[in-house]
């Protein structure tokens, strides 16, 4: 895997720009966000989760966040792993089925119950379960929970993963992939908005 800074690439940050220089004020965070990406997507050990499955899960998670640029990146990486075209088509279809506004979900019964927000239930479509296989199907259902209604998580959701053959270590990696993407996408979105603001500042200054 080539090694340009992936957040810079996805946010469209130009070397030497104002935002690039600001990012060097947090160079440890910048470098370790990149190392996190490589640890998850170019791992030394893929005995618990294959790279193909990692990109399939990431493509679905990025799609649920609704960011086209990031989604295209992960789908392209998935296609480079050469699963059948049906796999990426199934993921794209599942993104459309699973998209929702979050976070929604319920709190433990008590004073916060009035803050409960109901959202759509999500299951992988019957037609795609065979294409994706039971492990990846279970992973997408878990990813949907973590992306859109993380406070609804519970031990039963982890049991469902174990029942389809996920190991405890594999579940830790899966959880990190989904949670890391939730971070990476928000940094990309935030920096992109700030970069647009800088461009607007320059226009104002030029007038």
């Amino acid at each position: 895997m080539s090694n340009p800074d992936i957040i810079d690439e996805l946010a469209g940050i130009v070397v030497g720009s104002r935002l690039d220089l600001i990012r060097y004020d947090r160079v440890e965070a910048r470098d370790n966000a990149q190392k996190s990406y490589l640890a998850l997507f170019d791992p030394d050990d893929q005995s618990d989760v294959s790279v193909r499955d990692r990109f399939a899960i990431a493509s679905f998670v990025a799609g649920l966040h609704g960011d086209d640029r990031v989604t295209r990146h992960y789908l392209a990486q998935l296609d480079a792993e050469k699963p059948s075209k049906a796999v990426s088509s199934a993921i794209e279809h599942e993104v459309q089925q699973g998209k929702a506004s979050g976070p929604y979900g319920a709190y433990p019964a008590g004073p916060l119950t009035r803050e409960n927000v109901t959202g759509p239930a999500y299951r992988v479509a019957a037609a795609n379960r065979d294409v994706l296989g039971s492990k990846l199907t279970a992973a997408l259902e878990h990813a949907h929970l973590l992306v859109l209604h993380p406070r609804d998580a519970g031990p039963a959701a982890l049991q469902a993963l174990l029942d389809t053959g996920w190991s405890t270590t594999g579940i830790v990696t899966l959880s990190q992939i989904v949670a890391f993407l939730a971070f990476q996408i928000r940094v990309v979105v935030g920096l992109r908005v700030l970069d647009r603001k800088f461009a607007a500042d320059r226009l104002d200054a030029a007038e």
């Binding site: 004020d25 966040h65 976070p103 433990p108 031990p155 989904v178 949670a179 890391f180 928000r186 935030g190």
Partner: protein
């Protein structure tokens, strides 16, 4: 041995946002200290984390844990420039309040309170939520963090205008973005891999 979840039928999960010191128990088996290899120890970064079931569970994938921990430390502790510690903790607490992570919110509300000494204002965020009216600076940080936390993200240039009006410079604005983004990572692990337990009874 087939892997199995661990459940806690007798645990009474906290059902309010609080600054008290909660516990947390894992639904999957953490590593035990005698299972730790040098690679696992490198993943833990701080040796004291071997006492934490949360970090000992995450140590099952040590490479991502190490990189994540170092990202976390720079975003929250590198205060030579940018946002002061208390305001970074407010971004973390507001994010946790939005996602509904009672455990993370308790830890970072406590830190925000310790660094700012603003007990009532921290309590207002916990009690009233992200629409609490506190002051222009905290309101702007809370609004921006909550907007970035939503899926799809509702963070716009108007949030940057608000942060600037509250006196934040560009590095501080990146600190808000990083702090809120990072807690979207942390909340999802804490919420999905285990559950909070009540504060230990006062001795």
């Amino acid at each position: 041995m087939t892997d199995q979840v661990i459940t806690y039928p007798d645990n009474i999960e906290p059902n309010v946002f609080t600054r008290e010191e909660l516990g947390w128990v894992p639904w999957l088996q953490p590593l035990s200290e005698d299972e730790l290899t040098d690679r696992h120890r490198a993943g833990l970064v701080d040796p004291s984390r071997a006492k934490s079931p949360y970090f000992m569970l995450l140590a099952r994938d040590p490479d991502i844990l190490a990189a994540r921990t170092k990202t976390d430390k720079d975003i929250f502790y590198n205060t030579k420039t940018g946002l002061p510690r208390a305001e970074r903790e407010i971004a973390a607490a507001a994010t946790s309040r939005t996602n509904g992570c009672i455990f993370c919110a308790s830890v970072h509300a406590r830190f925000a309170w310790q660094h700012s000494k603003r007990s009532d204002d921290v309590q207002k965020l916990l009690g009233e939520g992200i629409y609490a009216d506190i002051d222009p600076s905290w309101n702007a940080i809370i609004d921006a963090s909550a907007a970035l936390t939503k899926t799809p993200q509702g963070f716009t240039e108007s949030h940057i205008d608000e942060l600037r009006r509250a006196g934040l410079d560009d590095v501080a604005i990146v600190d808000v973005i990083n702090g809120a983004a990072f807690f979207n990572w942390a909340n999802r692990l804490m919420l999905s891999l285990g559950e909070p337990t009540p504060p230990a009874a006062a001795a």
